[in-house]
Symmetry: D2
Amino acid sequence: MAAIKTIGILTSGGDAPGMNAAIRAVTRSAIFSGFKVKGIYRGYKGLIDDEIVDFHTQNVSNIIQQGGTILKTARSKEFPTPEGHQQAYDNMKKEGIDALVVIGGDGSLTGARQFASEYDVPIIGLPGTIDNDLYGTDHTIGYDTALNTIMWCVDRIRDTATSHERLFFIEVMGRNAGFLALNGAIASGAEAAIIPEISTEVDQLAELIQNGFRKTKNSSIVLVAESPITGGAMGLAERVRKEYPQYDVRVTILGHLQRGGSPTAQDRILASRMGSAAIDALLEGQRNVMIGDANDEIVYVPFSKAIKNDKPIDRDLLNILRRLSI
Amino acid sequence: MAAIKTIGILTSGGDAPGMNAAIRAVTRSAIFSGFKVKGIYRGYKGLIDDEIVDFHTQNVSNIIQQGGTILKTARSKEFPTPEGHQQAYDNMKKEGIDALVVIGGDGSLTGARQFASEYDVPIIGLPGTIDNDLYGTDHTIGYDTALNTIMWCVDRIRDTATSHERLFFIEVMGRNAGFLALNGAIASGAEAAIIPEISTEVDQLAELIQNGFRKTKNSSIVLVAESPITGGAMGLAERVRKEYPQYDVRVTILGHLQRGGSPTAQDRILASRMGSAAIDALLEGQRNVMIGDANDEIVYVPFSKAIKNDKPIDRDLLNILRRLSI
Amino acid sequence: MAAIKTIGILTSGGDAPGMNAAIRAVTRSAIFSGFKVKGIYRGYKGLIDDEIVDFHTQNVSNIIQQGGTILKTARSKEFPTPEGHQQAYDNMKKEGIDALVVIGGDGSLTGARQFASEYDVPIIGLPGTIDNDLYGTDHTIGYDTALNTIMWCVDRIRDTATSHERLFFIEVMGRNAGFLALNGAIASGAEAAIIPEISTEVDQLAELIQNGFRKTKNSSIVLVAESPITGGAMGLAERVRKEYPQYDVRVTILGHLQRGGSPTAQDRILASRMGSAAIDALLEGQRNVMIGDANDEIVYVPFSKAIKNDKPIDRDLLNILRRLSI
Amino acid sequence: MAAIKTIGILTSGGDAPGMNAAIRAVTRSAIFSGFKVKGIYRGYKGLIDDEIVDFHTQNVSNIIQQGGTILKTARSKEFPTPEGHQQAYDNMKKEGIDALVVIGGDGSLTGARQFASEYDVPIIGLPGTIDNDLYGTDHTIGYDTALNTIMWCVDRIRDTATSHERLFFIEVMGRNAGFLALNGAIASGAEAAIIPEISTEVDQLAELIQNGFRKTKNSSIVLVAESPITGGAMGLAERVRKEYPQYDVRVTILGHLQRGGSPTAQDRILASRMGSAAIDALLEGQRNVMIGDANDEIVYVPFSKAIKNDKPIDRDLLNILRRLSI
């Protein structure tokens, strides 16, 4: 393999707070180690459209606290095609890019894996997604911030909730996984979390709430992971209203604000460690691995492992949630 | 009129951040001036159910920064009835309460006015509502905090918005008035505000957005006041999707989190000034007035004036919003 | 007077949150009205060093929520000299700048006034300073944010303060004026505010605190305006420790963090209204005035008035503070 | 050993955000498991003064988001004496307390260990301190919040710092350990961290800063752990001013605000898991251990181990900090 001289960075998929901190860490670690750096705008789309610029240490000054990503992201229907791959590869050659660092979720890593299977380009992935559902890493960049954003919102609803007898269903992100809903519920002192990994009967839920109301004459708060399996907050609200018309049910859908915001300390530090590790990995000759954080140690997780496997929910947390909502 | 010896405080209607700061100011100003104080829980309902306790300076320690209201609020269908009024009056007599301070929105002040028209009880109202729609006062307690909460949320959506070409409709509170939507739009740099005071054709809106997209390849954000007149964010999204199917439209409904949260400095200071002024008003023999803040001066606004009149929107702000979204 | 074609913008003096929102408002209002815009970096220094660039609507995208100022500020010993003025004027001519908008505090407006007295250049000033001490405007851009920053810090100290019997002196900015200290004290529920406008004997202070301790066994918090007159938090702590050695006295000096941070809604809206008004003023032929906000109306305040006069403190607030700390 | 029927809870030492979440978790887990609970006010002092009350699930409602501790803390010179221990034990017997849960730092755990060595009382410790310096647990309750508070403050100073060429020394807590300074520096993008574990020559520091200034014409930020070894921010500023008088050096001492504030999600979840585990530990017959969090697993750490050993700093972080400040 030829020596790597120039590294390209891109962010892809949904935004995650901390992506900018990661871009900064990759850029400065690379330059510190003697590499040149190119920033690729709008994810894989920018690789195809050749939206590529030189990146210096100054390009990443003062971005560590900014949400979003200065490199933007975008969807690209073209990239996964053979023509898309070819165009991307040609542009990389044109720009002299020898290796790629891709920051994104499992969709982005899947794209990286496919591309790497056809072309001889070392790619390192950083887990940038608020969902925390990538196997092989305890934490993904953006998860801690999203958790705190959810908690901040629920704290506010709780202020008003204690004054009235209402049942609040708050929908949070996590299409396939309940990490945000379950941990968000514990952090905000909610009564329950409805997650795709566990089936919840409306009766169980109603009993929980009944207990809450009887106890305090206050309101109850339930976090619901957006998911066809849970039915989402709207679906759940419908079912409860139908069978228990005496409850005053309210729905809040937090939506995209969960993907933004200035990253927390955890996310900035994680992004800095992972971005730095990406360069170390390339220096060690690693390729097609995702940088993971396992037991506070940096690990290399083959793309196939990171994408294909489900990350189990911590069932102890469910017990804790139940105990603490008495 | 007999001398006032004991003052009762209650909070009624929707929660507003700063209600606790107001309770604290009324309580301590009253005690400082030689009065006794009683706290009435759950608004007018507590007056009927006799949920009334003695309040001392210590009851209001360390509540200035708390959202919600320690006295809670509740709806009471009974209170507006003759029986309800009689029961309330009897309980007041029983507890020795000579005067009332009512903190709430126009519904609460209406209730106060009706009660005062039947019974000889001096009542002072404090404008506690996030809507800022009470005539006679430039600011209501809770408005500044709600504005900042909305801005905080839109800032987060903006982080993700700059990375994709989307059209975000964000629904904010303000059933009859566009203060939160219009000021929230200016504060968060949104493209437009759809408010009940101004009719907006879908074409005008689409043109605005088209301009935004063409210019920057970024997303556009529009704040929408919840109101049958605007159709709410959902209704507007439907209309736009139908006529302009090429737009990727997203809806966020902020909901009740707008009513909670630690009050801002403005709201704490306003609540402190108004709470203190309520006691001054009683000492001066005032009755059945709402404490208002006009041009930074404390004024007394007769209940009839505060409730009946519409507060006009500042049209200059509409022009400023248009200019600044080019 | 020749028609204005190009407007130059600069920020000068200490940073104030909202300066970026003001830059955005001036830039976009100017372009909307047909002007060209030039951004001048590092205040008056940039005018002398010719650090001037074209500004378009895109230069000010997404800066409304950022603290600090994208145009930076700096001190310039040269500018007030005749040579400095000449150099500045020559560069303005070179760049085609016909009018200036200066955003800063009284030092910056003084510089503007002097320059305008020698050269025929219309200058409009925007009050950008956290001190709120400019005569003619109820609010300066940055004051509300600084107030909330102080309040946020004191809230945190209060959390720990209730657990121990301590006396906290917290020093806040306001070299000549007690606005931040006094309003900050009310907003955070502190026991007292030591400000340059009022002399406070150590005995008075000690009595206040004694009252606090006796009452609650909790700590007391006192806000102190940095000022030779008050002696600052350190000086006051020394005097109290000497005469009352039984108190456990702690000092916190908030420092420069008071000048940063994402601006609040009030500051962003004020900056937007004032920035827009600056362009209106130039269109109306106004010159050498500061845009003020008086009773929520935009007013033009001659530089001489804004700089020379003291803005009185609201003495009612002192009474309210005393009442509410019982 | 007799069966445990009643558990006493106390918080001791410096405040740490999350203590209330821990009190809530211990209380509710205990009641869920059939125990009675007593709350002991003001740490060990309350055990001696018999400031002990019954605690029910309602005592801990809505405290999860509050900073500080509802049980207060205090210093007690009496407790470590034989008489103090006897008095404490007598009061425990009087109140029927069979076991203790102590939430605090190493000083509190030392007190617990001493007491447990003389009296047959099972004690479980929870690591509540912002310093993160307890051996055997990766995280202490309060550390994540303090880290974010520091980061929030430095972000604000950075806003103003980019506008001027200054050198900011920001002192953070951590008398014996550099965790907050080092991680805070990485999270806030500072240039360096001066910590007791590593000696830093003034020349090394000056070189670092020189590099920063030369590069960007902006300011530099250095975090300094309060410690006799580092000399604190003041001491360091003195040394730098003396040898490099050309630098404009500013000092900020964050002080006690680092101990307050609403706990982050991490701290609330950690406190909930640990509080719940404390009850599990007692049910398992554990005694005189501190609940630790190692590799995300709950572990029991004998008091002697938790207190006596130093927790090493992560040297990789020092390298990362250096790389990323180029």
